[in-house]
Amino acid sequence: MSTSKISMPKFNLRDKFGDWWEGTTRNQRIIFRVVLIAFFYILPFLDNPVFGTTESDFASVLFYPMGMYVLMAIGLNIVVGKSGILDLGYVAFFAIGAYTHAILGISFGFNFWVNVVLGMAFAMLAGVLLGLPALRLRGDYLAIITLGFGEIVRIVAINVNFTGGAAGLAGIPAPPNFFGVEFLVDDPRPFYWLVLTLSLLTIWAYMRLTKRRPGRAWEAIREDEDVAEFMGIATTKYKLWAFVLGGAIGGGAGAVYASQVTSIVPELFDLNVSIMILACVVFGGMGNIWGVAFGAALLGYFPEKLRFLSDTRILFFGLLMVVMMNIRPDGIIPRKKREKVYDKNTGKEVSR
Amino acid sequence: MLLEVKDLKVSYGKIEAIKGISLKVNKGEIVTLVGANGAGKTTLLKTISGILKPSAGVINFEDKDIQGIAPHNRVLEGLCQAPEGRGIFPGMTVLENLEMGKYSRPDWKNELAEDLERMYTLFPRLKERQNQAGGTLSGGEQQMLSIGRALMSRPRLLLLDEPSMGLAPMFIQQIFKIIREIQSQGVSILLVEQNAAQALSCANRAYILETGNIVKEGAGKDLLNDDAIKKAYLGTGA
């Protein structure tokens, strides 16, 4: 137990930012948010040597992997980070969404927007079907069940006809024009904006949920599931909700992805996707949505930025993961609850 | 002096569980620490065994500072603990559990038969059960096994954490009888107990612990007749 601690200067982004944020006025906060969001929307135009990647088109990188990773990571964060359910089969929801749009779009000519909603719905349905039995298990047993689920979806996709089997499906329709924005195969920017919008919507919903009763219930379950149950929290119901909501985000992401790449094969949906997204969540800082989004963007970005290393980039990437975890085991921007100030009579939060 | 603890402080995160304790155990003594749940008794024993690190203070064993010695090596120094809740390895047989007591000694097979014989004389019950899995023993038998296992390491100081916990009155009597017998064989004992009456009556000296502080010390018999202690720990008196 002789712990030799390397003393590092306490660099805590979240504390620094949190202090500053609490000192701001309402108007300042609105301006900050607008500027930040605007920055992300114009990001594809900032293809300069600093941001840009050497060998791939920066706008494509922004859509995939960065945008996709961020969207899926904040979806998975509801499951793993917020409620502590270890899900190793997240790719299943992604695949369900992608195939929903591919099949309904190609064979039945359904509109992309309808398919996004349907993809989310099917993913949620799958989440309920798997979650109802599986969420009774805990820890590693749950992990292997979800892993199995991810593999089953992929194997089924290979072996049945309506998914096009191992050859997959091609000619998946792009989204129709949206208020003058055209979704063209050779222009990834509209797809990036679409993913960005979905991510912002997800973050909005997440913030709302976590500030209220469901957020408290999830946190309580993560901290001590038994006690949560004793405090009247329907733990199974809330775990299922987390699982299903995370699944819905994955399904939506899948539909968007399919519409951009125009052809999909089952091999795109292997375990590595689940692992990668989980890595984004843990790497960024499990349970802290800003950390998760940042971590996912970074994990999407680095392999592309490292393209000059060509073939060896994944090698360095693996090494980076080991080193990062050893230095900051709780992620880059760890979840750290800040103390609050409440009004003693109403219990309402007061800003300092 | 066998064990000397000076100004010891131990914290769990921000919570200070032990707030500056000094105590000693002389050779051949039974010393008991009495106090309610959460008073810091177990924390103190864990710190002496090295499982917890103190934030301040000194622990000397046989006039040697043992802070730098890793917890697993403290057994070799002559300190062994029968932990709270007995800590039986449930999947090992009684015999294997006893043998674990000699784990720290590279020459553990030497004198093994002799040591086992000693334990079986002290606890005939264990001999009957020697091939039974530890997890299937009754609470009393497990406590005997836990003490026996610690004694297998031939300690000079035996640390006992709540040996009477969860035991029937008959067994409690027996355990305390055994504790006296162990003392008579020359092993010193630091005993942590909630069962104040029994502990005080068999101890040479005692310390009363309350929320991380020693509030009283003295000969066991004297404290046993102390009204305040009767009131706090026996619920009788006053």
Binding site: Y141, G148, N159, L278, V282, V322, M325 | V75, G87, F89
Partner: protein, 316 residues
């Protein structure tokens, strides 16, 4: 679906199921041993196995086998194969120990989140896979046929070939040896003690760091030997060979009740048989689906696996 094959090929399916199960078992033991002492899925264990297969291949190349020669005589084969096995065991064993130091030790001492250790292991796994993908040019690599694979004798429809016999005898011998090590040696006892009650183990003088390092070594050696058997039986490897075999072995460990040695063995043989029969009935493509469905069913009715211990049951 074809059920008649189950009847006509019953003995053959059972034999192959046991052979495959024996290979799974050696790898599954590594997962379960590490889980026992660390309560952690050693995600990179499959890569330790993969590394072993290439070590085997390396030895045959150094010995000058090209794969086009006739199978060698039994005496020379045994010598060669023992050499291959030892080298693979040493390579995998030392890699596993190195893995523990690099990916786990610091995190464990910090008392880090289990997930952080998992991600660290995933990183190590990525590194190893990529390293071997680059070194081996992403190609399939064939292992030379060292042994005549004609049937020696047959029971019903089961053909006993020399390679199957080597795998069976070797694997069972190794399992017996492991049992002796765990029960009879000092460090083996340490592994059992740490698995059952780490805190008390320390009080009894068990050096947990040493025991954990030894556990990784044991798991690595078993995976190394398994890789030699695998190469003898399947005669090919690729950089991603660990992934597929690792999932099966891990599933087997969970099926039996992870952390439990007996469970890992039972789970492995059960899984080997399930896979053979489901491939025969539904086709190889559906094999893994059936595997996972059975796993789900087992866990639903027995949430700690077939031999899962009630010891870790949560208490209030």
């Amino acid at each position: 679906m074809d059920f008649s094959i189950v009847v006509s090929e019953f003995a053959s399916l059972v034999l192959d199921g046991i052979v495959v199960g024996a290979i799974y078992a050696l790898v599954a033991l590594g997962y379960t041993l590490v889980y026992g002492v660390l309560r952690l899925i050693n995600f990179a264990h499959s890569e330790i196995f993969m590394l072993g297969t290439f070590a085997c291949l390396g030895v045959t190349m150094l010995l000058g086998y090209t794969g086009f020669e006739e199978p060698i005589g039994i005496g020379l084969f045994l010598l060669t194969f023992i050499l291959i096995t030892v080298v693979a065991a040493v390579a995998s064993g030392s890699a596993a120990m190195l893995l523990e130091v690099v990916a786990y030790r610091r995190l464990r001492r910090k008392g880090a989140n289990r997930l952080s250790s998992l991600i660290s292991a995933i990183g190590a796994s990525f590194f190893l896979v990529e390293l071997f993908r680059l070194l081996t040019d992403s190609k399939d690599w064939d292992f030379p046929r060292l042994l005549d694979k004609n049937s020696l004798f047959e029971v019903s429809s089961a053909y006993f070939t020399a390679d199957k016999l080597v795998v069976l005898i070797g694997a069972f011998g190794l399992m017996f040896a492991l049992d002796r090590i765990i029960k009879g040696t000092r460090l083996g006892r340490g592994i059992r003690a740490v698995s059952q009650d780490e805190k008390t183990a320390v009080l009894m003088g068990v050096d947990v760091d040493k025991v954990i390092a030894f556990t990784f070594l044991l798991g690595g050696v078993l995976a190394g030997v398994a890789s030699a058997f695998y190469m003898l039986f399947y005669e090919a490897t690729k950089f991603n060979v660990g992934f597929l075999l690792g999932i099966s072995a891990f599933t087997a460990a969970v099926l039996g009740g992870i952390g439990n040695i007996r469970g890992a063995l039972a789970g492995s043989f059960a899984l080997g048989l399930i896979q053979q029969f489901s491939s025969a009935i539904l086709g190889y493509n559906w094999r893994d689906v059936v595997t996972f469905l059975i796993l789900v069913l087992v866990l639903l009715f027995k949430p700690t696996g077939l031999f899962g211990e009630a010891l870790q049951r949560a208490r209030v």
